[in-house]
């Protein structure tokens, strides 16, 4: 190879930096996605922090139907269901609902419930003041539990949403918990 005005190895190095940068960008998409979804609520993930119930005005004129769905993730042996299938609330009204869970196995399991709301944009307006999904639940062998969840729907909920579904998936996270201790 003959010599050139520009050292090709040097300019290749420059492009290699771009490559490394784009690899980092791939990873940066993970937090970016979370932040974007937190702001816009478009992936239906409600906040996993307890909301404070400020004495909001109750919009008596409006009724919103909230439906509940539960599912045990694949490989998870548990009975998990909502005590009511759906409930009608006024926006701003604090409401409590209960969920039933049973560990039918003969070993203790640590479970984590992950909520998801459809349609996604409703997630921003679903304020939970108390939820079993905020932390992991230890279920003793054979144990049955009634778990409460308290929420209110923000009166700012867009007018075109009159019904939304809150779905919980229950995961067995015992293995991860053991691994961490």
């Amino acid at each position: 190879m003959s010599q050139h005005a520009v050292n090709p190895v040097k300019s290749a190095g420059k492009w290699l930096l771009v490559v490394i940068g784009m690899f980092g960008f791939g990873y940066a998409l993970v937090p970016l996605y979370d932040v974007f979804c937190d702001i816009t609520g478009i992936n239906g993930k409600p906040s996993n922090q307890a909301a404070a119930y400020q004495a909001v005005e109750i919009d008596e004129a409006r009724v919103v139907k909230v439906e509940f769905m539960t599912r045990s993730a694949g490989g998870m042996a548990s009975e998990f269901k909502p005590m009511v299938q759906s409930i009608k609330v006024h926006p701003g009204q604090l409401q409590e609902v209960e969920f039933y869970v049973k560990n039918p196995t003969d070993r203790d399991i640590v479970a984590q419930a992950v909520p998801s709301i459809s349609p996604g944009p409703a997630a921003l307006y679903m304020n939970k003041t108390e939820c079993f999904c905020f932390e992991q639940q230890t279920l003793k062998a054979g144990e049955e539990v009634i778990m409460p969840m308290r929420f209110y729907v923000d009166p700012q909920l867009p007018q075109d949403i009159s019904v939304f579904t809150l779905s919980y998936t229950l995961y067995d996270v015992s293995a991860q918990v053991v691994a961490q201790n």
């Binding site: 190879m1 003959s2 010599q3 050139h4 005005a5 520009v6 090709p8 190895v9 300019s11 290749a12 492009w15 290699l16 771009v18 490559v19 490394i20 940068g21 784009m22 690899f23 960008f25 791939g26 990873y27 998409l29 993970v30 996605y33 979804c37 816009t40 478009i42 992936n43 239906g44 993930k45 993730a73 694949g74 984590q112 992950v114 998801s116 459809s118 349609p119 996604g120 944009p121 998936t169 995961y171 996270v173 991860q176 691994a179």
Partner: protein, 531 residues
């Protein structure tokens, strides 16, 4: 330029012919022509390997019911077929063409980084050996589709996933090295007077493709790494149980995936833009608009990825944005088709083999573009998504698009590479058999797709039986037609045929036709003068 003087001084150090024979010549070669040849043969072999997997798929789908293979093996065939064709056949074929032609077209003696060039080729066979070997592991190879959606590739996959990830890393490293080489070569090694706006379009399209490659291949590497750590090291990027989100996988994958489909078509646009003017004997209509159209396609390709995700429950605003952005891409694509047709308009056309493939490309690729437009309509995609309609779409753009352009390029430049004219009889058999069978193969897929036949399944409802029989017959015929091409290539490599002139195509223009056929081992050691 100082390079001219120094080249003359050093000229005597060079071997003027290929160094000694045997395997070592190919293992150690840093010559762009040798490496181009290696890439092209590798791509063709992978095309045959991936093609045999397609034959298994079509044999199973010949009739409804399960008869030849297990569903799990069927899924491995669709997965590995896709991976081998995308990363093993189409992409290396284009890299091979770039290696052969880019230096010759810009008047450079070689690629800018010849040793890296050697590496970027020689890691490829290992990548594919690993991928193909994983098929023989206990439980089989990857079966989650070439798109490896989580949680199929994480929770529900087997241990061979580690091999899949590793092989994709190597393929990615190889294409990144290839891309950097193309960029550095084009930026630094153009002959004096070869300004950017004088570069042949094949060089331009590859230049832009190379930027796409270095932008998105690292993102693919990130995605497979996340799959690897989710599966084996307890992270939860894509697992809701640990706070991740499986939909995030699709965003990351398609952020890579959509530019990737343009990586597989932009060089094809370049090839067609070389061939059409040659056989229409008119300069390309709208050269500058071609360059700008290519660049805008490349830029737009970064903002349309979610058209693959219309059914994931995006908000309406998102669906609308991605629908409109996707339709916008068809504007510069339309400009290109228009320019090719305008180039032919009132040209003195002849229909040699490269031109026949180029014409088939223009017509059939456009069909694929139209089905793409249909898929881009969000409400309609809810019905078409994950059906054979999508399969029809991407095979029209990739087989009759990318692969036909590669055939066109091979026929166009083969006389330059081998020094002999190819066997025209075999070429005619290859073209006409391929043309008929490819349409028997892919056109009915539109109908079964519209009627609701899902993709990636080994069995199907009885009402699809007749069409599928035809599709399979077309598939076998298309597979067999490629053997004509194999025979033709072997003849050309053995130098059987009439000797080719330096410029075997009357209307051809460009630096590559100013050197003798076959192209000597070293060319343009003294840069040519560009008028």
């Amino acid at each position: 330029m100082s390079s001219i003087v120094e080249q003359d001084i050093h000229a005597d150090d060079h071997h003027h012919h290929a160094p000694g024979g045997g395997i070592k010549r190919w293992l150690y070669t840093t010559n762009h022509k040798d490496i181009g040849t290696l890439y092209l043969w590798f791509a063709f072999i992978m095309f045959l390997v991936g093609g045999s997997m397609a034959m298994v798929i079509r044999a199973e789908l010949f009739e409804p019911g399960l008869q030849i293979v297990e569903p799990n093996f069927f899924n491995q065939m669709t997965t590995v077929h896709g991976l081998v064709m995308v990363f093993g056949a189409v992409m290396p074929a284009f890299t091979g063409l770039a290696n052969w032609m880019v230096p010759m077209m810009i008047g450079a003696p070689d690629m800018a980084l010849p040793r890296m060039n050697n590496w970027s080729f020689w890691i490829l066979p290992f990548a594919f050996a690993i991928l193909l070997a994983s098929l023989f592991m206990e439980g089989g190879g990857p079966n989650f589709g070439w798109t490896f959606y989580a949680p199929l590739s994480t929770t529900y996959s087997n241990d061979s996933t580690a091999l899949f990830v590793f092989s994709v890393h190597i393929m990615g490293a190889s294409s990144i090295m290839g891309a950097i080489n193309v960029i550095v070569t084009i930026m630094n090694m153009r002959a004096p007077g070869m300004t950017y706006m004088k570069m042949p379009l094949f060089v331009w399209t590859w230049f832009i493709t190379a930027f796409l490659l270095i932008a998105v291949m690292p993102v693919l590497a990130g995605a497979v790494t996340m799959v690897l750590t989710d599966k084996f090291f307890g992270t939860s990027f894509f697992s809701a149980a640990g706070g991740g989100d499986p939909v995030l996988f699709q965003h990351i994958f398609w952020f890579f995936g959509h530019p990737e489909v343009y990586i597989m078509i932009l060089p094809a646009f370049g090839i067609i833009s070389q061939i059409v003017p040659t056989f229409a004997r008119k300069p390309l209509f709208g050269y500058a608009s071609m360059v700008y159209a290519t660049a805008s396609i490349a830029l737009l390709s970064f903002v349309v990825w979610a058209h693959h995700m219309f059914t994931t429950g995006m908000p309406v605003a998102g669906e609308l944005f991605f629908m409109i952005a996707t339709m916008l891409i068809s504007v510069p694509t339309g400009v290109k088709v228009f320019n090719w047709v305008a180039t032919m308009w009132r040209g003195a056309m002849t229909f040699e083999m490269p031109m026949l493939f180029a014409l088939a490309f223009i017509v059939l690729f456009t069909i694929g573009g139209f089905s793409g437009l249909m898929l881009a309509i969000t409400p309609v995609d809810f019905q078409y998504h994950d059906t054979y309609f999508v399969v029809a779409h991407f095979h029209y753009v990739l087989v009759t698009g990318a692969i036909f352009s590669i055939f066109a390029a091979a026929y166009y430049w083969l006389p330059k590479w081998s020094g002999v004219m190819f066997d025209k009889k075999l070429a005619n058999w290859h073209f006409w058999c391929s043309l008929v069978s490819v349409n028997v193969l892919f056109f009915p897929m539109h109908f079964v797709g519209l009627a609701g036949m899902p993709r990636r399944i080994p069995d199907y409802a009885l009402q699809f039986a007749d069409f599928n029989k035809w599709i399979s017959i077309g598939g076998f015929a298309f597979g067999l037609s490629q053997l004509f091409f194999l025979a033709l290539l072997i003849k050309a490599c053995r130098k059987q045929g009439e000797p080719a002139a330096a410029k075997p195509w009357e209307g051809a223009e460009g630096l590559e036709w100013e050197i003798p056929s076959p192209a000597p081992y070293h060319t343009f050691e003294t840069p040519p003068v560009i008028k």
